[in-house]
């Protein structure tokens, strides 16, 4: 049992406030309980985010009170770093903002690459576009504000930084993150199961493949 702050979203959702480091354990616990058949019938989606987790429900089959009771009764699940699934993403560190990121961090471009590849990142949550993951846990020296004016078009495969996050654009789109490199990894493919390369909790290790 926890004394989390729960907020109703009309008759269709329950929003659970959580500290950033608490979202993944909360999500893991609820997802395991859901998969085991212990969630109320009518739970439709779990949406982890930066500082919250949303449970979406079908009001024809359940209600906010029942879902809130389930959330309160379900223990979080410690995220086991040592045994977490990991994926390696090869990156050409040729991004047009690489030098700007280096200048902001007081590093050389080579040191930015070293910092970005030195330790694994983790998918905290997704959003923005199918297959886009917000990666956390990287070297804090790489934190940088997003561009004041977003680019009209960022190419698919762009590896970019914003705030404490790293992300990879799954397809061409507008975007305001600082691009440090590019990858050929396929982030999103509807004919693949699962379609998204990145899912919450996954560890991501970047590997430099030349500039």
């Amino acid at each position: 049992m926890t004394d989390r702050r729960l907020l109703a979203c009309g008759d269709v959702g329950v929003l659970v406030d959580a500290e950033p480091d608490d979202v993944l354990p909360l999500h893991a616990g609820l997802r395991r309980s859901w998969a085991a058949g212990n969630a109320p019938d009518g739970v439709l989606d779990l949406v982890p985010a930066e500082r919250s987790l949303l449970v979406v429900l079908d009001p024809a089959r359940t209600d906010v009170a029942r879902v809130a009771a389930w959330v309160r009764a379900t223990p979080s699940e410690a995220v086991d770093d040592a045994h977490a699934a990991e994926v390696t993403v090869d990156v050409r560190y040729d991004g047009e903002d690489l030098d700007a990121v280096a200048a902001h961090a007081g590093l050389t471009a080579a040191e930015v690459v070293a910092a970005h590849t030195a330790s694994p990142w983790r998918v905290a949550f997704t959003g923005f576009a199918p297959g886009f993951g917000y990666l956390v846990g990287g070297d804090p020296r790489l934190a940088i504000p997003r561009l004041d004016t977003p680019r009209v078009r960022v190419p698919a495969g762009a590896v970019a930084l914003a705030g404490r996050y790293c992300g990879i654009y799954p397809r061409p789109s507008p975007g305001g993150w600082r691009i440090i490199g590019s990858t050929d990894a396929v982030l999103w493919d509807v004919d693949r199961d699962p379609p998204a390369l990145l899912r919450p909790g996954l560890r991501v290790r970047f590997r430099a493949v030349g500039r």
Binding site: L15, A49, V56
Partner: protein
């Protein structure tokens, strides 16, 4: 022209914005995929019930109108949702009722006159290939079958075992005057100044023409000056940490002009959600027409 094989619907005229929709693809939001599905789910469910389909079968969502289809074999169909002209080979037929359309006849949906979105269900369902478990077109993410084009041929699935149970459903048309939508306050109404939140309930909003399946954008009607300063003069709050969004969320960006999220809403959003429409009112919001007046009424959860 008694074609062999499963029946198809030949798209004679697609109309400006006709898509295949079912009840969407829930369960993938953690991968960044929104549910999508019929914008007015109630109307699609009704159309399916009329022709004896499972409620979640895929049909056509016809925005505004302009669709004409010609079945290759005799079919049973039903059209629900917005009011407007409906005919078979030029002969007017009823909405919210089971219609028998013979092979080669043309079923035409004219421009909606009350409400915005019309739903066409065919017994057996529209059997285009599913993507990630659904035949819905997600217009924001670009997932699912493309919007209809003239000349498309839509396969019709095998008929369900049971016969249709009802011939006619007495349902009121969507309103053409001012619409009142019910919403529950929260979850983030405490992040905005009280004056901004109060204005949400006080103003007679106007539906902005830029509205789409992602959301209904609300604007101030030009004749509405008695409420004092334009809420566009800053809502007093910028972005907040990105968090999960629901259909029906009333999001207030810094402009102060609310957006009512519909079926293709983004999975997460970064502006405060001040209220959430009830599930029934979210269906009704999907029938709002550009320029139509709308008020929000707070209800208890």
């Amino acid at each position: 022209m008694s074609a062999a094989g499963p029946p198809v619907l030949d798209v004679v005229r697609a109309g400006p914005a006709t898509t295949v929709q079912d009840l969407g693809r829930p369960g993938l939001a953690h991968l960044g995929v929104t549910r999508s599905g019929a914008a007015d789910r109630r109307a699609l469910r009704l159309a399916n019930r009329l022709v004896g389909n499972p409620e979640a079968a895929a049909g056509l969502e016809v925005t505004l109108g302009g669709l004409a289809v010609r079945p290759s074999a005799d079919v049973e169909v039903a059209v629900t949702g917005a009011g407007g002209p409906l005919d078979v080979d030029g002969r007017p037929v009823g909405r919210n009722a089971v219609l028998h359309v013979r092979a080669g006849q043309v079923l035409a949906l004219g421009t909606a006159t009350a409400g915005l979105r019309r739903y066409l269900a065919v017994r057996g369902g529209v059997a285009v290939p599913a993507v990630l478990g659904s035949r819905s077109r997600d217009t924001l993410a670009g997932i699912g079958p493309e919007a209809l084009r003239d000349g498309d041929r839509l396969p019709v699935g095998p008929p369900p075992p049971g016969p249709p149970l009802v011939d006619l459903a007495p349902v009121p048309d969507p309103l053409s005057g001012e619409v009142v939508l019910d919403a529950v306050r929260g979850p983030r109404d405490d992040l905005l100044p009280a004056a901004v939140v109060d204005r949400l309930w006080a103003v007679r909003w106007s539906v902005d023409p830029a509205s789409d399946r992602v959301g209904v954008r609300l604007a101030l009607p030009h004749d509405d000056v008695q409420h004092g300063p334009d809420p566009a003069a800053q809502s007093g709050a910028g972005s907040v940490p990105s968090e999960g969004m629901v259909r029906g969320a009333v999001q207030v960006p810094p402009s102060g002009l609310p957006v009512l999220f519909l079926a293709d809403h983004p999975v997460t959003g970064g502006y405060p959600v001040v209220a959430v429409l009830t599930d029934a009112s979210a269906d009704r919001a999907a029938q709002l027409r550009p320029g139509q007046g709308v008020r929000l009424r707070t209800v208890r959860p």
